[in-house]
């Protein structure tokens, strides 16, 4: 099958509305004008279908193209870019490409450090966790876009999509937990990037509803930060 023929086959995304990893994939498809079918999966009550599609990790997003399944959002993004080359998301320069992949891995590996504060009740532990999150955010801030609008240059790319968590999810977590982490004065680059990112039409028209997300996070927080009952 030629690449052109392959690119015409059916695309399906299995996701959950609160997942920034799923949004990375749907944003990529929309930026490239690729049609797809979306199937909502309840990750709190995983279907047999999900377990069949992703037996190793049992997670969303799951990407299905012409009957073939791919999982892991970073891997899916690269596949999307290789299959539909219009509006490229992966930098062409090999070193820039390596840096994009490096930051995507960094965000993935350190998500626990970024989000730890959210699962703590007010007090010493929360203060410590907020400090830790800020240390890791400072690393992103230091490497954030300075002259250009986006991590990937003048247009958004794979790195920006992977940083999407900062744009909608962090603020919802802050609101749900009543903690401010990404202060504008300490993180000017990231704040500027968030503003620019949210203005991109595909992003502006496709993101979780803030109020709904905050409510979801509030419920999550209650579930996972119950005080000990012994």
């Amino acid at each position: 099958m030629s690449r052109k023929e392959r690119s015409m086959e059916e695309v399906k995304v299995i996701g959950f509305w609160t997942s920034p990893y799923v949004y990375r994939v749907t944003w990529a498809l929309k930026l490239k004008g690729v049609e797809y079918e979306y199937q909502e999966e309840d990750i709190w009550n995983k279907s047999d279908l999900l377990l069949q599609y992703n037996p190793v990790h049992k997670k969303v997003p799951v990407f299905v193209h012409g009957g073939k399944t791919i999982v892991e959002s970073g891997i899916i993004l690269e596949y999307i870019d290789e299959t539909w080359p219009q509006n490229p998301l992966v930098p062409t320069d090999p070193h820039a490409r390596a840096m994009a992949r490096f930051w995507i891995k960094f965000v993935g590996d350190k998500m626990r450090n970024f989000q730890g504060f959210f699962f703590k009740r007010a007090g010493e532990e929360q203060i410590k966790a907020v400090k830790e999150a800020q240390e890791y955010l400072k690393i992103l801030e230091d490497h954030g876009p300075e002259e250009k609008k986006f991590f990937d240059g003048d247009n958004i790319g794979m790195t920006d999509l992977s940083m999407g968590w900062l744009a909608f999810w962090l603020e919802a977590m802050e609101e749900a937990s009543g903690v401010q982490v990404l202060e504008a004065n300490s993180f000017p680059r990231l704040h500027a990037w968030i503003r620019n990112f949210k203005q991109v039409p595909v992003i502006k028209e496709n993101h979780p509803d803030h109020t709904r997300l905050v409510a979801y996070f509030k419920r999550l927080r209650e579930m996972f930060t119950k005080p000990a009952t012994t």
């Binding site: 190793v56 073939k68 892991e72 290789e82 090999p94 070193h95 891995k105």
Partner: protein, 232 residues
């Protein structure tokens, strides 16, 4: 690529993550300078080239640094067209190789847990790593629908995933001796064994084999240090 390519690899000789990158450079015939890092006393250059993680391996190509072994190897494959192509052209096959290459990290971390623990904790870790290796073998089988390739076929179509397998399990005999644990054998993991058998015949790889005794000594002392600090 430029004639004046200067490639430097900062690594630690026993680290599988460093080995991954070394194998990639060797099978592609890329000349490089190697800098051995003492991880308890990291060089200023390492801290400069990998300020975010301060870890090895780090590749420096004409002054530009790249960290994270899989990122480095994809960079190597895209930059040097000599030797085997470590990622195939087909996007789906690429995604499968990337998936299992990424999964190797979990296998690796489980194995490190086995090396560093004892008693009940070790038993639990052994169970976990055995399951992961089994899954890895299944995953690899999926990449070879026509059955286990011959030694010749393996060496002609080396992918980065094969290099990862070699980097982590190439010294399986030393691991067995130190841990008394048989993770890799022709019954349970025939594909992994074939992969290793094929790849160690590649001249550049054969030349750089770590002597068995050296690996055993390293693993023993690594384990002793970990057990000591766990009870300290």
């Amino acid at each position: 690529m430029a004639e004046q390519d200067k490639v430097i690899l900062h690594g630690m000789w026993a680290s599988p993550l460093t080995k991954r990158v070394e194998f990639a450079l060797k099978v592609k015939g890329i000349p490089y300078e190697y800098v051995e890092e003492d991880l308890s006393n990291k060089s200023p250059l390492l801290l400069k080239f990998n300020p975010v993680h301060k870890k090895v391996p780090v590749l420096v190509h004409n002054g530009k640094a790249i960290a994270e072994s899989l990122v480095i190897i994809e960079y190597i494959d895209e930059t040097w067209k000599t030797g085997p192509q470590l990622l195939p052209e087909d996007p789906y096959k690429r995604s499968q190789i990337r998936f299992w290459a990424s999964y190797m990290q979990q296998v690796f971390e489980s194995l490190v847990l086995v090396i560093k623990s004892s008693g009940e904790a070790q038993e639990k870790a052994i169970k976990e790593v055995s399951e992961k290796v089994k899954l890895l073998e299944t995953g690899l089988k999926g990449l070879f629908p026509d059955g286990i390739p011959s030694v010749d076929e393996f060496s002609k179509n080396v992918t980065l995933l094969d290099l990862f397998v070699l980097a982590h399990f190439g010294e399986y005999e030393a691991q067995e001796e130190v841990l008394g644990l048989k993770l890799i054998d022709t019954d349970k993991t025939p594909l992994i064994v074939s992969c290793i058998t094929a790849l160690i015949e590649i001249p550049a790889v054969k030349k750089s084999r770590i002597p068995h005794e050296k690996m055993v000594a390293f693993l023993k002392s690594y384990r002793e240090d970990a057990l000591k600090s766990a009870t300290a």
